[in-house]
C-alpha cells in the first residue's frame, strides 16, 4: 500500500529519470559503430614496444586510407577505424605497422550490409513490441473491469519505454566518456531487455488479475496495493538471480560481451523497478482517470 499511497512520487521519479536519459541521448548522441555505418576496424597488438599514437597516425596517413580514428587498447595495442578497406589495403596496413604488430582481429563491413542491419534492427524492435502488446492484451482479455484489458498492454508499453530509455541514456553517458559505440550486441541487449522486463511486469499484473477475480479487497487501490505486497519479494528475488548471473559476466566474462552484459544488467534492474514502482501506480491512475 505504501507504493500506491505515494504513487505520485514514484511516477515522478520515473519521469525524471526518463527525461534525464533523453537529455543524455540528445546531448551526447549515440555513436553508430561500423556494424551499422560500414567501415573497417583493425585491432593490433605489439609484442615488445608500442609505438606512439602520432607515429601510427602518420604511417596510416601516408597510405591514404582516408579518415581514421585510432584508440589505444590496453597497454600494448591499438584499435584502428577506417573506411572499408579491401584485402590489399589491409595487407599494406599491416606491413606498414611493422613486423612487431600482430593482428588480433579485423572486421570490414560494406555500407549495404550496415544499412541492412539498421533496417533489421528497427523491424525487430517493432515486431517484438507488437508481439508483446498482443500477448498481454490476449492474456488479459478477460479482465475488463475495472480497467479494460488493452490498458494493461498500454501500461506495459509505457514501462517498456521507461526500461529501455534509461539504460540507453546511461549508454549515451558511457559513450561520451569512453567513446563506446553501438554495435549489433547493443540491439540484441535492447530486444532481450524488452522480453525480460515484460515478463516481470506480467507477474505483477497476473497477481492483480487474480485478486480482482477473487474479489477479496474492497477498492481497486487496495487490490493493487495488496497484490504488490504479495509479489514484490518474488520479483526482487527473481531479478536478483538474473542480475547476479549478469554481474558475473560483466566482471569475469569475455571483453566482447562486457558492455552487452552491463546494458542487460541496467535493463533488468529498471525492468524490476518499473514493474513494482511504475506499472501499478499507473494502473491506479488510469482507473481514476476513467471515473472522470
Amino acid at each position: 500500500m505504501f507504493i500506491i499511497k505515494h504513487k505520485k512520487v514514484f511516477v515522478i521519479i520515473s519521469a525524471i529519470l526518463v527525461c534525464l536519459s533523453i537529455g543524455a541521448i540528445v546531448f551526447s548522441g549515440l555513436k553508430l559503430g561500423i556494424d551499422f555505418k560500414g567501415g573497417s576496424l583493425t585491432e593490433v597488438e605489439y609484442t615488445t614496444i608500442r609505438p606512439e599514437q602520432v607515429m601510427i597516425e602518420e604511417t596510416i596517413r601516408s597510405l591514404s586510407l582516408g579518415e581514421m580514428v585510432i584508440q589505444p587498447m590496453g597497454t600494448m595495442g591499438y584499435s584502428i577505424k577506417t573506411k572499408q578497406i579491401n584485402e590489399t589495403e589491409r595487407a599494406s596496413l599491416m606491413s606498414a605497422l611493422g613486423s612487431d604488430a600482430t593482428e588480433k582481429s579485423f572486421t570490414s563491413i560494406g555500407p549495404s550490409v550496415g544499412a541492412e542491419l539498421i533496417r533489421k534492427s528497427l523491424i525487430s524492435f517493432i515486431l517484438v513490441s507488437l508481439g508483446i502488446i498482443f500477448w498481454i492484451a490476449f492474456s488479459f482479455r478477460k479482465v475488463s473491469k475495472p480497467v479494460s484489458s488493452w490498458k494493461y498492454g498500454l501500461i506495459a508499453i509505457i514501462t517498456l519505454i521507461h526500461d529501455i530509455m534509461i539504460p540507453v541514456g546511461a549508454f549515451a553517458v558511457l559513450s561520451s566518456i569512453y567513446g563506446t559505440e553501438i554495435d549489433t550486441l547493443f540491439v540484441v541487449a535492447i530486444l532481450t531487455v524488452l522480453g525480460l522486463s515484460v515478463s516481470d511486469t506480467i507477474v505483477v499484473f497476473d497477481r492483480i488479475r487474480e485478486n480482482i477475480r477473487v474479489g477479496h479487497y474492497k477498492t481497486f487501490e487496495e487490490t493493487v496495493g495488496k497484490s504488490l505486497e504479495q509479489v514484490y519479494t518474488r520479483s526482487i528475488a527473481t531479478s536478483s538471480t538474473v542480475i547476479i548471473a549478469l554481474l558475473a559476466l560483466v566482471f569475469f566474462g569475455p571483453s566482447s560481451t562486457k558492455v552487452f552484459a552491463m546494458m542487460l544488467t541496467a535493463g533488468m534492474f529498471f525492468g524490476t523497478y518499473s514493474s513494482i514502482f511504475l506499472a501499478s501506480p499507473l494502473l491506479v491512475f488510469f482507473k481514476n482517470l476513467q471515473k472522470k
Binding site: 579485423f106 525480460l196 507477474v203 527473481t238 569475469f252 569475455p254
Partner: protein, 463 residues
Amino acid sequence: MWKTRITALLVLLLGIGLGFFVYQSEISYRNLAPEAKATGMAKFPFKLGLDLSGGTHLVYKADVSQVASADLKNSMDALRDVIERRVNVFGVSEPIVQVQNGGFSNQGEERLIVDLPGVTDVSRAVEMIGQTPMLDFRTENPNKDQTQEATVGADGVIKLNMNPQYILTDLTGRYLDKAILDFDQTTGEPMVSLQFDEEGSLLFEKITKENIGKSVAIFLDGQPISIPTVNEAITGGKAQISGNFTPEEARLLVGRLNSGALPVPISLISTQTIGPSLGAQATSNGVKAAIIGFLAIALFLIIWYRLPGVIATVALSMYVLIMLSIFKLVPVTLTAAGIAGFIISIGIAVDANVLIFERIKEELRKGNDSILDSIHHGFKRAWLSVRDSNISSIITALILFWFGTSLIKGFALVFLIGVIVSMVSAISITRLFLYTLNIKKKNKLTGFLFGSGFSNASTQVIK
C-alpha cells in the same frame, strides 16, 4: 510414494550420466591424435563459433544480373558447391559455406557466406575463393603413355595424378552458352547437352575433328569432371555428354557447367577475422563467468530459500547438464554472446523455481494444509505465472533468431532453448524432488526449512 522416490533416483542417475557424458566427450576430443577420426564420445565436442575458435567470416555478394530467375537457385547452389570444394582444398576443419537467398531482409541480394574456423591467413583465403569458377576442355596428351606418378596419401589412399594426361586447348567456359539437362530419346538415360556460342562452336568442331576415338576431358577448377570419348566431329556447337549419369549427377554437372559458363561474379562485401588468441581468451573468460555465476546463484538460493533452495540447486545443476548435453548433441554453435545467453538463462531457470517457492510459502502461511498439499497447490498456481512470463522471452528469442547474423543466432538459440528447458526442469524436476522428501510434519524446523529470507513459513503474517 515409492514410485516417486524411484523416479527421483532415476533422474539423479540421469544427471550423473549426463555429467559424465559432457566431461568425457571433451576429454576424448582433446586427446585425439591430429589426423585420427573421432569415434564414440569424441564425436561430440562443443561446437565453437568463430569468435571463440578464431577464424574468418566472409560475406560475398553474387552478381546475378545475368542469371534468369528460373536458373537462380541452381546457379547459387552450383556456386556454393564450387566454393566449398575450393575451401576444402585448404584442409579447413568444418568450413561452412552457405547461400543466403535474396529476400525481404536482404534487399533482394543473393549472398554467399563462408565461415572458416581457425583460418587466419585471410589474404590467401580471399584470393583463392575470389576467382570465378574456371571451366576448360582438354585433349589427350600425346605423351600420355609416360610412366605415371602415384602418391600414397596419409590415409593410405593411392592418388593418381591425372593432369599430365591432358593438355589445355583454347576452348574454355567463356564459349559455352548453356548446358541443359536432357534425356536420351531411346534409352531415357540422363545426358547433358552443351551449346557453344559461335566462336566456341568452331573451336569445338576443330577439337572433335582432331580427336575422334580419343577422349576429351572437361575440367572444372583444374579437376576433371567428365571425360567423354569423341565419336565424331561435331558441328553447330551442340554436343551431348552421356555415359552412366544418374539424374542427380547430370543435374549437378549442368549446374557446374552453367556456373563455369556464366560465371557468377562475386564481390566481397564483409570480412571479419578474429585471432585465435582473442578467441581462446573469450572462451576461458566465458567459462569462468559461467561457473562463478552458477556458484553465486546457488549460494543465494541456499541461503535465502534454505531447504527448497538446496533442491533448486540440484535441479539447477540438472538444468545446466541438460543444456550442455543439448549443445553437444544438436550441435549448437556457441559464440561469446551465446555463452552470455546461457548464463542469463541460468538466472531465468531459477525464476521459475522462485515463483513456485513463493507460492508454496504462501500456501504454507495460510496454515490449513499439510506440507504436501501446499506444495501441490503452490505448483498449480505458479505454473500459469511461469508460462505467461516466459512467453514474452520466447517471443523475443524467436524474433532475434530471425534478425541475426550467425553470431546473434547463437545467442537467440541458446536463449530460446534455455527458457524452454528451464520451464520444463523447474516444473518437473524440482517438483519431483520436493515430493520425494515427503515431509509431513509441520513444526518449527520445517517452518525454518521451508521459510525464506528473514521469516519463517510457519508464522502467519498478520495484515
